[in-house]
């Protein structure tokens, strides 16, 4: 049985866009259950981005199975640390913003 697709709006900024051919915003369609039978979580989305969108240097995006320390994530304008981090279940229409703190001052 195929899982329904969900639309997610991704944003990259703070210098992170350089890993994505300088694309700052991209809407993607992903399975609502990348890892069946579970619903797609933040952890799955980060891995999906690494495998499908990153052009160069994936180690600048991920460390181990999570986001590289120093990159902030906002889910619908809320700090992902408030939303359960890797365990957050992705919903159709979510705006997910990846924001690097690692550049310049």
């Amino acid at each position: 049985m195929t899982q329904p697709l969900i639309k997610v709006n991704l944003f990259f900024s703070g210098g992170l866009e350089i890993l994505f051919d300088n694309i700052k915003q991209k809407t993607v369609e992903i399975s609502s259950s990348i890892n069946p039978p579970n619903q797609t979580k933040m952890e799955d989305l980060i891995k999906w981005i690494r495998e499908n969108l990153i052009k160069t240097k994936p180690e600048l995006f991920m460390t181990g199975n999570t986001i590289r320390p120093g990159i902030l994530i906002l889910i619908n304008d809320v700090d992902w640390e408030v939303e359960g981090e890797l365990e957050y279940t992705i919903k159709d229409g979510d705006n997910i913003h990846f924001l690097s703190t690692l550049h310049g001052g």
Binding site: S13, G14, G15, I18, T63, P69, G70, L72, L74, D77, V78, D79, E81, V82, H97, L99, S100, T101, L102, H103, G104, G105
Partner: protein, 347 residues
């Protein structure tokens, strides 16, 4: 599950604060972020009424937020200070020229006077030319030494009493760790001071000393502040880069670690009798220096004589090998700080 702000117990939380692990809503976050900076300013007596204060502005996140918050706090709490933006144009095509455009927009947005000082006008060399000469290995040494002086010289041109920089808690914790690893006790004891000034130097301080980078970036994000975020094209910056990665890993495990490292740095005390370099002034340009000539003059001499390694590493050894610095060659304009007598007592 929607989490509620632990400060107002009403609104939805939008951030988990790294320093306290509190979850706060947007308005409460703004309030505590700004108030903590205000408290740091008051507790450390950073400003006096009537002070003219230059914000070292690069167009990056830290200095952009600093300009915004200082302007706001100056109005809210009536510090009675006069603010300026001071930017350095290192002459890096494709990097600094773009970030200076951000500073120029900030000047309009915040309605603050802006002064730009360039390496070319001060030293006769810009970074593009220096990199052509020295390559990508020691270029950051030139840039760092030249920038420090350029800020002081710009401050003198603006006739300000004080320079504030956007160094945040993460930067200071990194510096503490780097100074420990290098065994640089003179810098270790200085690097956690919120305010520094030598006898001839302009007073310098770091209002973001206890402010986490995460909160600065979140504040800029929610306030939609206009900042520039591209890595310098010449900076691999590897030593600090490793320390930075280490610190960010620590923060991920235990975010209080950053403040703890700063406190550890503050608590280090030098044993009595440890000799530290005595600060004097450069024989050639008059800038503060613990050697006969300041680092900028030696670096510049190296560039001008086609010996770019002259100021890298052990200067005295190099001078012995290549011959001393001839007298009467003041190539950087003489450093004259009219305020030097009055500022030395304030800090």
């Amino acid at each position: 599950m929607v989490r509620t702000c632990v400060i107002c117990n009403k609104e939805r939380a939008i951030i988990k604060r790294p320093k306290t692990r509190q979850q706060a809503c947007r308005e409460c976050f703004y309030y505590v972020f700004e108030t903590e900076i205000h408290n740091t300013i008051i507790d450390s007596k950073l400003f006096n009424k009537g002070d003219k204060v230059a914000i070292a502005a690069s167009g990056g996140k830290d200095s952009t937020v600093l300009a915004y918050v200082l302007k706001l706090l100056n109005e809210r709490y009536q510090y009675g200070i006069e603010l300026f933006l001071l930017s350095i144009d290192e002459g890096i095509t494709g990097y600094r020229d773009d970030s200076l455009e951000t500073v120029k927009r900030n000047q309009q947005q915040y309605d603050l006077p802006l002064k730009i000082v360039s390496y070319s006008e001060l030293y006769g060399w810009n970074m593009d030319q220096i990199v052509k000469e020295v390559g990508l290995k020691n270029n950051c040494t030139f840039c760092g030494v030249f920038r420090r002086q350029a800020l002081d010289r710009g401050a003198v041109m603006l006739e300000v009493d004080h320079i504030v920089t956007g160094h945040n808690a993460d930067d200071i914790a990194e510096t503490v760790l780097m100074n420990i690893m290098r065994g640089d006790i003179a810098r270790l004891s200085r690097c956690t001071e919120i305010c520094t000034n030598g006898d001839e130097c302009i007073r310098r301080s770091k209002p973001f000393k206890y402010t986490y980078e995460k909160e600065i970036v979140m504040y800029a994000y929610f306030k939609k502040l206009d900042y520039f975020s591209t890595e310098c094209i010449y900076s691999p910056n590897s030593y600090r880069g490793h320390v930075r990665t280490f610190l960010k890993d620590l923060e991920g495990i235990r975010s209080i670690a950053i403040i703890d490292i700063i406190h550890s740095g503050e608590a280090f005390e030098l044993k009595k009798g440890v000799k530290l370099p005595i600060q004097g002034v450069c024989k050639r340009c008059g800038y503060i220096s613990s050697n006969e000539f300041c680092k900028a003059c030696v670096l510049l001499e190296g560039l001008n004589r086609g010996l770019p390694k002259l100021g890298i590493g052990k200067t005295n050894k190099m001078l012995k090998k290549y011959g001393n610095m001839p007298e009467g060659m003041a190539t950087i304009p003489k450093f004259m700080n009219k305020n030097s007598d009055s500022v030395s007592e304030q800090c």
